[in-house]
Symmetry: C2
Subunit: 206 residues, 2 copies
C-alpha cells in the first residue's frame, strides 16, 4: 500500500461519518460528488482518496454506502475495539472521559490515573480515578494499545516512558511538549492554540 | 503567494514553538536540520515549508532565530491579538477557557455564553457566563473575529448563523456536525474521535 498522508486519513474519517448518516437513512449508493460536497472537498479528491485502497464504486452508479463504510472502517482499524487509558485527571481529562464520540467508535476509556491524592478515588463518568503508581501493574493485567496523556508539560515525558515500557503503542498527547518515543510507537499531539492559529492564518491571508 | 496547505500551516506553528524556546535560551541561529529534528520532519520539508514565504537563512549559517520567529508570527497572523468568544459552557468549554496556551499567543477569550439558566451568571476562570440572548448586542459593542462553538450538535448551526450574522469571521467548531457558512467565513472542526482514528489507522497499518 502506498504511504497515506494524515490529511487523507482525516478525510476518510469524515467520509465515514457521512456514510454512516446515509446508511442510517437507508441511502444505498452515493456519488463522489455528494461525498465531496458533504466533506467540503472536490470529487477528484474523493476519488483520489479512495483510490489508495483499490477500486471501489461503479462508473455512473456511485459507491455502495454500506460497502464503502465497511471498507473505510477496515482501513481505519475500526473493526475492533480499543482499550484506552487516560493519564491526568484535570479539566481536559474530564472533558475527554465524557466525550460521547469515543465509545460509539469502539474506543473504550477503561481507566484514569492521577497522582494527586485529592483526585485518586473519585469517580469520573463512572470510572474510578486510580493512583498512577498502579499504571504498570494495571497495564500488565489489561494490555492497552492507546493512552491519552493529559498531564502537565513537566510530567508528560516520564508518563510516556512508563506507558511505552508497559506496552502502549499509540499516544494521544495533550501536554504542550514534543514527546520522544521509540519508532514502533505512534504519537499524535493535540494543541488547541495550534487549531486557533490555523484560523488566525486564514484571517491574515484572506 | 502560493496556496499553503493546512499541514504546512500546522508545521509552521510547531516550528514557531521551538524557535521561541531557542530564543528564550539565547540561541541566535538554527539549521533546517535542527528544526526538522525537533519538529519530527526532514530538513528538505523545513526548507520547502519556509520557501513558501520567500528566502530566509544563509547557506551554511542557518536561519536567524528571532527573524524567523517574527516572520512566522507574521505569516500566522499572530502580530495582533484576537478577541475570542466561546458559546457553550459545558465540560469542553470549561477546559478551553482555562487553556493556558491561548492567551500567551494573543487569543483572548472575552466572553462565554450559554442558554442554561443554571450556568448563566456563574464565573469561569474569572469570566461571567452570559445568557446567549445577549450574543448579538455584545458582539456589536465588541467586534470579535473568532468564536469557539462548543454547543450540542443540534444547536451548533443556529449559533453559527447568529455568530456569522454578527460579524464573526472564523469559527473553531467542537460540535460533531458539519457547519454551513458563507465563503468569507472559515470553519475549523475539532473532533477528538477523529484524532483517535489517526492512531487506530497507524496501529492497523503498521
Amino acid at each position: 500500500m502506498r504511504k497515506i498522508s494524515e490529511t487523507t486519513v482525516r478525510r476518510l474519517s469524515v467520509y465515514l461519518r457521512f456514510l454512516e448518516q446515509f446508511d442510517a437513512q437507508g441511502q444505498m449508493t452515493i456519488s463522489s460528488a455528494e461525498l465531496a460536497r458533504r466533506g467540503g472537498t472536490t470529487s477528484a479528491q474523493v476519488r483520489k482518496d479512495l483510490s489508495f485502497f483499490g477500486s471501489f464504486g461503479k462508473r455512473g452508479l456511485g459507491y455502495s454506502v454500506p460497502e464503502l463504510a465497511a471498507r473505510i472502517r477496515d482501513i481505519l482499524g475500526l473493526k475492533r475495539a480499543y482499550r484506552v487509558v487516560l493519564v491526568g485527571a484535570g479539566r481536559i481529562g474530564g472533558a475527554l472521559v465524557q466525550y460521547p464520540g469515543f465509545r460509539e467508535r469502539g474506543f473504550h476509556v477503561t481507566a484514569i490515573y492521577d497522582k494527586d491524592p485529592t483526585k485518586v478515588g473519585s469517580r469520573w463518568n463512572g470510572l474510578l480515578v486510580r493512583d498512577v503508581r498502579h499504571l504498570e501493574s494495571d497495564l500488565q493485567k489489561e494490555p492497552t494499545d492507546i493512552a491519552i496523556v493529559v498531564t502537565p508539560a513537566e510530567a508528560a515525558q516520564v508518563v510516556t516512558d512508563r506507558l511505552v515500557h508497559a506496552g502502549v503503542k499509540a499516544i494521544l498527547n495533550f501536554a504542550p511538549v514534543q514527546l520522544s518515543v521509540p519508532s514502533d510507537v505512534v504519537v499524535k499531539s493535540v494543541n488547541m492554540a495550534i487549531e486557533l492559529e490555523t484560523l488566525s492564518f486564514a484571517l491574515a491571508n484572506r
